[in-house]
């Protein structure tokens, strides 16, 4: 049976609308219920700012947002510094054992965070790094680096060897070739790593809960404490979730251009 083109297009649209509704419903639920009080939430009717008042009364929102930002930024800087240089080395420099080392790095991706969190805690405690930004930042960086290195190496492999050789012939050493050629060309991959790691670190609860003291808690940990008491205010939690989601959306919007745009166009034939 031949389905007319128009009909199949409409069918596709209908399917996409269903998927979109499934994806967007939680956002709608979050926004709708953030503007209610407890009673309005139970009845699912009426709106107010009570949830927001409760949120700001119970949580140092600004301070926790700042904590999240600091931890995220520091960890991402370390992840980028390590993954871009390591990725370039794995992709473009020939040395004995590079394949094995790359496999080792990639195999670190298979290790679940929960299984190593206790040894990590013990290790950092030995260096007196628990209960501080530094401890959390190092753990986040260690957890994010393998995937970021894998992604950067894959990206650098896509850059023609001749381009790197052209830079070498033009008089650059490998350090400058990396800084002046490879790094600018890998902006899309850097943007991807930044966005993915930002979302992962920003949303993480476990590491923040274990390694940060109460006054340095991130917003995600803060939100979790909202529901730790005997009663949980869902509207306040929803309001907090909106506050927590906004930075991730901003980061995505900033880097979206690089995520989509391929910079490598036109380098060859």
């Amino acid at each position: 049976m031949v389905i007319p083109r128009r009909l199949s297009t409409w069918g596709l649209f209908a399917a996409m609308i269903v998927v979109a509704v499934i994806m967007l419903y939680p956002f709608w639920y979050m926004i709708d219920n953030a503007f209610r009080n407890g009673g309005q939430f139970d009845r699912q009717s009426g709106h107010s700012f009570a949830g927001w008042h409760q949120l700001f009364a119970n949580l140092p929102v600004a301070g926790q947002l700042l904590n999240s930002t600091l931890v995220c930024a520091a960890a991402i800087v370390i992840i980028l510094a390590v993954s871009t240089t390591a990725g370039f080395a794995f992709a473009k420099l020939q040395y004995r054992g590079s394949g094995t080392i790359f496999l080792l790095v990639v195999s670190a991706l298979m290790v679940p965070l929960q299984s190593i969190i206790i040894p990590e805690y013990v290790n950092l405690a030995k260096f007196n790094l628990t209960n501080s930004y530094a401890g959390a930042v190092l753990v986040y960086a260690a957890l994010g680096t393998p995937f970021a290195t894998f992604l950067m190496a894959t990206y650098y492999r896509g850059i023609s060897d001749e381009l790197i050789e052209a830079a070498v012939m033009d008089g650059l050493g490998y350090e400058r070739t990396f800084l002046n050629i490879a790094l600018p060309l890998s902006l899309p991959a850097i943007a991807t790593v930044t966005v993915l790691q930002f979302i992962q670190i920003w949303d993480d609860l476990l590491v923040g809960l274990l390694f940060l003291p109460a006054n340095q808690r991130t917003i995600t940990v803060g939100l979790a404490t909202l529901s730790a008491g005997r009663t949980t205010s869902i509207p306040a939690l929803m309001a907090g979730s909106i506050v927590s989601a906004i930075p991730a959306i901003i980061v995505y919007l900033i880097f979206q251009r690089h995520l989509i745009k391929g910079l490598t166009l036109g380098m060859g034939r």
């Binding site: 001749e162 036109g266 034939r269």
Partner: protein, 392 residues
């Protein structure tokens, strides 16, 4: 300007493959040497060793008499044009051309004037602010050339720089590169698999096969006096006809002279005295099997040239006629003689045939048995076993 010498240069990769085997080459100051050969013959590896991008396993590469085996590419003062152009996609045309000068700490005003001059010569002035992706293939190729020129290096290395262009543009850029190289007078090594490019561009052409240098000579010498079967079959289009033949002592001719004849299939060709004088070594092959080489342009329609020399006309059954406008390629069967492949082996896939490049006025048609005149003054002879040209 520089003189580049390769002395017994060998490249063996870690898997044991010998890409270049004991290569001896000299490129004189200001010369353009073309390395030509089929894909995988080692010509690009040889070029990359000169550039310093590939380590030399054994032998010595010298520039102006100084060995450079252990000198880093950036200190060799050589510019390279890559097959893919390898332009920096995030930089403008101007920045691409100025790139190396910037890192060599050359004054800004000097950089500006060098780039401007190169852009003028290469007609790139309107595109200086554009990114490579906004340029056509030919323009990108010019930028790649410009990037090499502005450096004013001791030598240029070019790795198949025209292979990504369409046929028409390739012819145009080929002429431009030749002109540019002559006007700049910079020593150049140019790698290509295209024999037309090699013949038209090179001051000297080095033919490489299987990592081994087959012959290095001026283009015309290479064409007229190929050193072996490989060169004979590789240079020239259509390639030289290579046929299994036998050298025999002739009966007394009309003039009563006795001299060797070359016999292939049912055909006998008298070898002129001038050819014998040029190939004294032929004496040793009397009564023996050899490989006979005839260029397609040395086979002509006997009815057009009106030759009276019966000793150099053969009757060929015509199998195929290809019209090329300015010339006609006529394929004729030569009976039982085997056609010899460029590597000296019997080419069992092709029927034993000869290709003739004829004047378009020829009336020869498929199915005819046509009289074809052989210009016996231009016959080539090769040893059946070694493939080497028989001369002395």
């Amino acid at each position: 300007m520089a003189r580049i010498e390769l002395d017994s240069v060998t490249k063996r990769f870690s898997d044991g493959t010998v890409a270049v085997n004991s290569l001896d080459l000299t490129v004189g100051d200001g010369e353009l040497l073309v390395l030509v050969g089929p894909s995988g013959c080692g010509k690009t590896t040889a070029l990359r060793m000169v550039a310093g991008l590939e380590e030399v396993t054994s032998g010595t590469i010298s520039i102006d008499g100084l060995p450079v085996n252990n000198v880093e590419p950036r200190h060799r003062d050589i510019a390279m044009v890559f097959q893919s152009y390898a332009l920096y996609p995030h930089l403008s045309v101007y920045e691409n051309m100025a790139f190396s000068l910037k890192y060599r700490k050359i004054a800004k005003s000097e950089i500006k004037s060098r780039v401007a001059e190169a852009a003028r010569v290469l007609e790139l002035e309107p595109y200086l602010e554009r990114k490579p992706r906004q340029l056509s293939g030919g323009q990108r190729q010019r930028v790649a050339m410009g990037r090499a020129i502005v450096r004013q290096p001791r030598a240029f290395l070019m790795d198949e720089p025209l292979s990504n262009l369409d046929a028409k543009l390739r012819v145009q850029m080929r002429a431009e590169i030749g002109q540019l190289q002559r006007s700049l007078g910079v020593t150049t090594i140019y790698v290509t698999h295209d024999q037309t490019e090699a013949m038209t561009l090179g001051t000297k052409v080095a033919v490489i096969s299987g990592g081994v240098l087959q012959q290095v000579a001026a283009p015309q010498d290479l064409y007229r006096r190929p050193a072996n079967l490989f060169v004979a079959g590789f240079i020239g289009s259509p390639p030289m006809n290579l046929i299994d033949a036998r050298l025999e002592r002739a009966d007394a001719g009309p003039g009563g002279t006795l001299g060797p004849e070359v016999v292939f299939g049912p055909h006998r060709l008298r070898i002129p005295a001038s050819v014998l004088a040029e190939h004294p070594g032929l004496d040793r092959y009397l009564g023996k099997e050899i490989v006979l080489g005839i260029r397609p342009e040395h086979l002509t329609d006997a009815s057009l040239v009106g030759t009276s020399d019966g000793g150099s006309v053969i009757d060929l059954p015509i199998k195929l006629r290809e019209e090329l406008g300015s010339e006609v390629h006529v394929h004729g069967a030569i009976g039982e003689a085997a056609h010899v492949g460029a590597d000296g082996s019997d080419d069992v896939h092709s029927l034993a045939s000869l290709v003739a490049r004829m004047d378009p006025r020829t009336k020869i048609a498929v199915g005819d048995t046509a009289p074809v005149a052989v210009d016996a003054d231009h016959l080539h002879f090769f040893d059946r076993d070694t493939g080497a040209s028989i001369r002395r």
